[in-house]
């Protein structure tokens, strides 16, 4: 399976996770994102999961790791487009995402990262 493309716009990095993402591709995406963050000035990372019907503990952990590592590099991570059924499943699985901010959609995500929604990212970071 092909890599997940990492797009850059206005200093932000964007990835859209494909519906059929497997563990190998997910792990590679983590590496690619962190490499891109370390290479150039980045104001935020947006991970779009609107195509995903299933987020299991492995993929959840990858997303959480992106946010943890980005946070250490002083970059915020916003996950957008989570379906209600995925949210219910993650809660029941017991997943936690301490460094992730969640947004409804891409617009909301970029507004958060641009600071246009005040205080939204002030989660003791």
């Amino acid at each position: 399976m092909a890599n997940v493309p990492v797009l850059r716009s206005r200093g932000m990095l964007f990835v859209t996770l494909p519906e059929d993402i497997d563990d190998v591709v997910a792990r590679r995406m983590l590496d690619d994102l962190l490499r891109d963050i370390s290479r150039t000035r980045t104001n935020g990372v947006v991970i779009d999961i609107s195509a995903l019907d299933i987020v299991d503990s492995f993929l959840g952990r990858i997303v959480s790791e992106v946010a943890n590592c980005a946070s250490i590099m002083d970059v915020d991570t916003v996950v957008c487009g989570m379906r209600p059924s995925v949210a219910m499943t993650l809660v029941e699985l017991g997943m936690e995402f301490p460094k992730v901010t969640f947004a409804m959609n891409m617009d909301h995500a970029t507004d958060l990262l641009a600071g246009e929604v005040p205080d939204a990212l002030d989660k003791d970071r």
Partner: protein, 141 residues
């Protein structure tokens, strides 16, 4: 341990030999559950549980076999998924079923998490011979 021998044409069988098989299997279970009338949360929970168990079979059991079959009881219908491997088995099943216990790099949510997502889960593990997990989820009517 491979005991999956199902002649039922309604059953979907799939080998788990690489990460793509996990994707194929969970996608099939999701589609099947939707066809059967599971609601959105129910089908997602079942498919996510399958994903957890299939990954376990792949990572800890060296790969395995899976079967997904419709099942009925008076007044209700559902899906039954069996996943088995011929790996080393789970030395301490009780421990493996508790949150936060992990032998790999994960968070230890796989087995206990999968159990919470379904209506019934049976796990048999024989040291040196393999592990068999059977899960059932019923449609809500």
């Amino acid at each position: 341990m491979h005991s999956i021998r199902i002649d039922d044409p309604d059953c979907f069988q799939h080998s788990i030999a690489n990460p793509i098989d996990v994707v194929v299997l969970r996608k099939h279970v999701l589609d099947r559950a939707r066809e059967m009338g599971f609601d959105s949360a129910g089908s997602t929970k079942l498919a996510t549980a399958v994903s957890e168990l299939a990954r376990n079979a792949l990572e800890h059991g060296g790969g395995g076999e899976a079967a997904c079959c419709p099942c009925t009881e008076p007044g209700r219908s559902g899906l039954r998924v069996v996943i088995e491997d011929e790996g080393p088995g789970i030395p301490d099943v009780l421990k493996a079923m508790s949150d936060g216990y992990t032998t790999g790099g994960g968070m230890g949510l796989g087995l206990p998490g999968a159990k919470r997502l379904v209506d019934d889960m049976k796990l048999i593990s024989l040291p040196g011979r393999g592990t068999r997990v059977e899960i059932v989820k019923w449609t809500r009517m």
